[in-house]
Each structure stands twice: as structure tokens, then as C-alpha cells.
Symmetry: C2
Subunit: 422 residues, 2 copies
Amino acid sequence: MTNSIFALLGDIIHTPKAGEVEIHYGSYLVCRAGRVAGIYPRLPEWFENEEVIDCTGKLIIPGMVDMHLHAAQYGARGFGMDLEQNEWLHNFAYPEEYCFEFPEYAEKMYTSFADELLHSTTTRACIYGSVHTDATVTLMKKLEQRGLRAYVGKVNMDRNAPEYYSETLDGSVEETLRWLELSNEFKKVKPILTPKCIFNVSDALMEQLGKIRDSHYLPVQSCLSETKGELEQRGELCPDCNTGAEAYSRFGMLGGAGGCVMAHCVHSDENELEALSRAGAYIAHCPASNLNLSAGIAPAARCLRDNMHIGLGTDLAAGESLNLCTAITAAVKVSKMHALTVDTETKPLSLVEALYMATKGGGEFFGQVGSFEPGYDFDALVIDDSPIAGNGRCTLLQRLERFIYLSDGKVEAKFIKGDKVL
Amino acid sequence: MTNSIFALLGDIIHTPKAGEVEIHYGSYLVCRAGRVAGIYPRLPEWFENEEVIDCTGKLIIPGMVDMHLHAAQYGARGFGMDLEQNEWLHNFAYPEEYCFEFPEYAEKMYTSFADELLHSTTTRACIYGSVHTDATVTLMKKLEQRGLRAYVGKVNMDRNAPEYYSETLDGSVEETLRWLELSNEFKKVKPILTPKCIFNVSDALMEQLGKIRDSHYLPVQSCLSETKGELEQRGELCPDCNTGAEAYSRFGMLGGAGGCVMAHCVHSDENELEALSRAGAYIAHCPASNLNLSAGIAPAARCLRDNMHIGLGTDLAAGESLNLCTAITAAVKVSKMHALTVDTETKPLSLVEALYMATKGGGEFFGQVGSFEPGYDFDALVIDDSPIAGNGRCTLLQRLERFIYLSDGKVEAKFIKGDKVL
């Protein structure tokens, strides 16, 4: 974190509240010691002779937060999208992740992944690696080198996985401890406990992970109620639990001080949503992957309006892209379908609501992140949308809408906690 | 059309039948007099010393066909996507189209539009202009200059439109005749009769257009059964008709020798689908816009498998983009939702089926177009997908799938009827 003071001058948009947008034409977004000092039409007196970065005509918006993506599936993105979840995992995801056993492969793919992430709209992310300790450390290093802030997890998985890509109970625990030890070297990238999902983690391993979580004060990420098939198998795998959330809860893996992100929650019933809400867990809504894998549509609009913690995930690579703009538009689109076919009582998500989810909604998992309110981390994107023809007659919000829908235009500069990383 | 013989050497993929893909590694796609002569692993003897364009390592696929888009809405793309159809038309589409009354505006916007279309995967298209004759001629000229082949329509609309953007019955007929006269100058771009939709065209105007159609042997394009609201209004506007298709049919506007494209068909019932099928009409399936405007999901997979004529439309600008790759993936995605929520009996569209729709499915409206079978028009794209990291381990079909899903990579060269246009 830098101690310096500086300002960006440009057209500023953010969503401090879900569904509400704040627009400041030609204003100064001032950074002090890595945090937002405020948005000013004119520079405040105390600013004095500090640097002003002139971004006149550019859009300035908060950095986006990807609450769920699989870095180790980067090489499988856009493949096998005709398949449903289980087939896709066994044909594309697992064979790809397996390759991260080889250091050269991890080095190559994670370099490409981190470079693409750096140039995207994403500033923070909750990321799955693979089961491999060393590759996961490589991933953390690549992100740290680029100044990105992220929670990264070595995946734990000791059941229902192909033999070539599974762990033993003891091996998983041992490697998790070794990984946590190695993770100490990083400042901006932090470890997050990552039991793949209840079907891939035995109760015995879950119990051990719960203990590790306690002793290390770790956050946790996992997947929950993604497919109907998952619900059907739960009775067999977790016979004592009424909901998937309960299967995490009994091992101290839901909510808690370290924080908890559950991806998907497509088929969560009232009890499960209630449990998530009570635990203060974050939902990572992944509309693109839910569509691609025919999982279904999560009730995201309702969760957001019920004041649950909910952010957006690209779920690369079941989501084809790590571009969060695509996740925003996908969230709007699937919620329209949801309103037409499943829940006609709930109005679809607006673009501004989906933008909130992609910024402050997920950002709060990282602290005061995802908004330009004073005191929030200075995570900002400068967007050059001039490549999009015909912008002359647009309002600022329309320019942003077009940038998000067309995923056109360029992230010209990116700041994270006040550091210029791009 | 050129009379020359030449060949492209590269990795060739096309879908001569719906759901079937043909793959030719490192082969020659030979063009003779604007048509496909064949695909050869080695050059045929008669080829002799003709030119071979070496595209080794590149993908060669048929040019794509956009069966429905509004060029005069290019300036409104990506705007107002939170609105439903009627609101969107009145707040975004009509105000934008109105501007094409001004020649400088038409010149500027249609230049940008045609340039973007040229660099896209689209080779042929059925395009709506605005109600303005001169602007529509400008559009035709811009397309012709770039070597694109298209049917372009001056829009007819004499009811239920805002006063500032409506025609009178007589004015519409007169301008249509003037436009047809002016259209004679074009070789590659042809006029298509374009009654906006039954709600915007009075019976009296429809009758006149039917006569013009007959005397000029024109194809026709319109919109059909797009929204539920449309179905509700039909009783009032076309009291004698049981289906929207009937409202066209009675004026000789459905099917016929000139050909007919009906966009959307989201809410077409069995009778209407039957009528479309009998008339040999083409359906332009527009999944992106149907999602954006909350119109619903058309039963595209069923229509395709029932051997109806069905192609894909981007429906720019209710579809946010003129990129047909986006329409392909949107078609696959919405058909998954359709299979989950509406019609659980019908399997979702596969990528290959959607690719067929985007090539030969719509292409046949233009003749022998959209496939590399011998005798088909030589409409080909050379795609450089090297910007997409990690392509080394992919099959050819996976490379194509990734190109389509990520809309990444570049159209390096484009041929239409044997002419190199890019």
C-alpha cells in the first residue's frame, strides 16, 4: 500500500447501494494512503501539489471482484460446452487440472492466466487452483507479481474424483499444511481453504480441514447446490444433513470469522438460503457456467434484494471467459429468463444491480472494497471506451452499459489499494 | 463474381447437414468461378498452376449469415437493455432510427456499421434499414462497396409508431417504389420488402405491399410472434386472423417464390409453425434479443430437427452485437434453458447445430450458400485463432468452439462468392 496522495480526473460511476448508481461528471477521485478520500468536483484545499492523473473523457469505475473462478481450468475454457456438469468435469476439467502436476505446465498456463486477468476488469478474486501445492504456489506468485489481490486455494478432494486426480485423506491434510506454510511469503495474495464440494470431500477430510481452518483463521470457499444431480446424491453422501449448507456447517465451514464463499446456490431451498444468510456467507452467483452446464438459474435477484451477501463469479472455465462484464450481462439475462419461467413474482436484475454484485456485492468479502465511498480501498479502473463508435450522444451510464454489454473498449489503467498495477 | 481458380490451404470445417460436422486437416478448398469446386487433400490435376493461398494453421469455415439485423439501430446497441420490447423501441430504437432522416448521420453511422460488419464473421445478411429511402440507399451503397452481399429493406410502417417516425399509407407506397427504382444500381445488395411487423403496418398498406411484391418478384422480411404482448394485441389489429402468419399470408406475404424470412417466432403455436413450414418460410432465430427484451425462448431446436428452414439473427440492436458468434452461443445457451424450464422433451441445440443454423441454415435463403459442398458459393472465412492461448492441445473442432465462445481471434480473410473482400 502506498502512502501517497493522488487523484484521477474523469467521469466517475459507482454503486454504493444495490440498485443505485452515483454519477460524477468530470470529477476528481482522490486517493490517500491506498484508500478513497472522496469524490470532488474541485480538488480540496489539502490536496495541494499532489499528482492529478488526467483521464478526461474516460470512465472511472470500481475494480470488479470475481467471487469464483478456476485458474487451473484456463486451458479448457470454451471446450465441451455441449456437456452437462459431470461429463464436462471428467472430459475437460479434471484432465486439464491434472496437468498442473508438472511445474513447466503450471508456469506456462498460470502466466497466461495472470496476464489475461491483469488486463481484465478484475481487481480481486476468489480463485481455485488445483490439488497441487506447488502449482498453487506458482499461481499465487504470478498474481502477487502483477499486484492483483486474491484469495487462492489449493483444492482438497479425496472422493468421487478420477484416480489420476484424487488425494488421500492424509495426503490432502499434509499438503494443505505445506501449502499454508509456503503461502506465508505472499502479501497481497492470501490462502483460502478450498474443499472442492461436499461430494468430493469425505467427512473425515472435512473434519480435518475444519480444524486447520480454526487454527489458521482461514476463509473458506466451496460449491453448493449447483445441480439437481447433486441434490439427489446428497442423501447418500451426507445422510445426516437436510441441506448442503448443513454438511459444511457441522464442520465449522459455513460462515465464521474467516469468511465463507459458496458458489452457485442454484437449487438452494428456503432452509439453505436462511442458513447462508444467518452465517453471513457470501454467494458467488455464476450465471454463465450455470447456463453452460445446464445447471439451472439461481434466484439471484431475490437474494440480493433480501440483503444477502451475493457477488458474481465467472466460474472460468465452465464459464467460458474470465471477463466479468460477460458475467454481469449473463446475470441480467438469466434473471429475465428466471422471471419469465420460474419466479414470475420477482423482477429481473437490472444492469446496475448486477454491477453492484460485481463490485461492492462481492467486494465486501475483501473488506471495504468495491465502492468509491470514503475509506474504501482505492480499487479503480480507467476505461477507454473510445473504440466503441457513436459514443457522442450517450449519457455516462449508457457508455458504461455499452462497455459492459459489448465488452469492447479497453482497461487503460487499473489501481488496487492505491497501487497502479496496469 | 470472379472467373479465376484458386485454393485456400488450411484446416477446413463445415456443417453440410444439421448436427453433422466435416473436418479436413491441412486440405485445399478450391474455388472455381466463384463456387466451391471441392475439398482436396492434394490438389487435383486440373488445378495446374493456379494460386494457392497458404493459410496453414488457420481455420477455414463458411461465411456466416445473419438473418435479421437492424442497421439503423447500430447507434443504439448496448443501450436500454433493462427495458422490455415496447419501452425499448420507444426510448431507444425509434429515436435512433429517426436520425437517419439526416443524410450526414446516415453516412456516418452506416460507414461504421458496414466497416464493423466487414470485419465480422458475417458474409451475408437480411437487413432492416429505417423508413427513409435515401438513407437505405446509402446503406446499400456502403455494403456494396465493401463487397458484402445482403438483402436490405426500407422499412414500411404506417401505424402504432410515434408521430415523428411514421409514414402515411400513400407516402409509404410512393417511397417504396422510389427506393426500388434506386436499388437497381446495386449488384450484390438487393432489396427486400420490409413491413416492420403486423402491428406497424395497416391492412391497406399490407395489401399495396403485396401488389408491389408480386410485380417486382421481391423477397420479404418481417417479425412474427415475438412477444406475448403482440399475441394479445393481434385480436384487435387483425381480427380475422387466427395466427400472425395468417395476417401475412392473406396479402401474399408468407413464403412465395421471392422467399420470406420471419424473425423471432418465439410464441408461434403449432398452427403457425405448420403454416411457416408449408410456405417454406425461413425463421430467423434471435436468441440474444429475445433474452434482452424478455420476449421468451423460441423452440429453435425443435424447428431445426423438424427440417424447417431456420437460421440465426443477431437482431442488432435488441441483440447487443452484430457478432454472429455471440448469436451461436446464445442459441445454445437459451436452448438449454428451454430444455430445463419449458420443453423437457427436446434436447438442447448442440454447438454444431447452432453453427449449421448460422451458415447453411440461413444461407440457403441466398441460394447454395453456407456450406463447402461442390457448387456452393465460395463464401469462406480464414480465422487466425493464435491469439487464444493454449491452442496447442486442441482438436480442430475445439479450436472452432473456443473461437466461437470467446469471440476471440481474428477474421484474417473473407471471401464472398469467390471475391476476396477482406
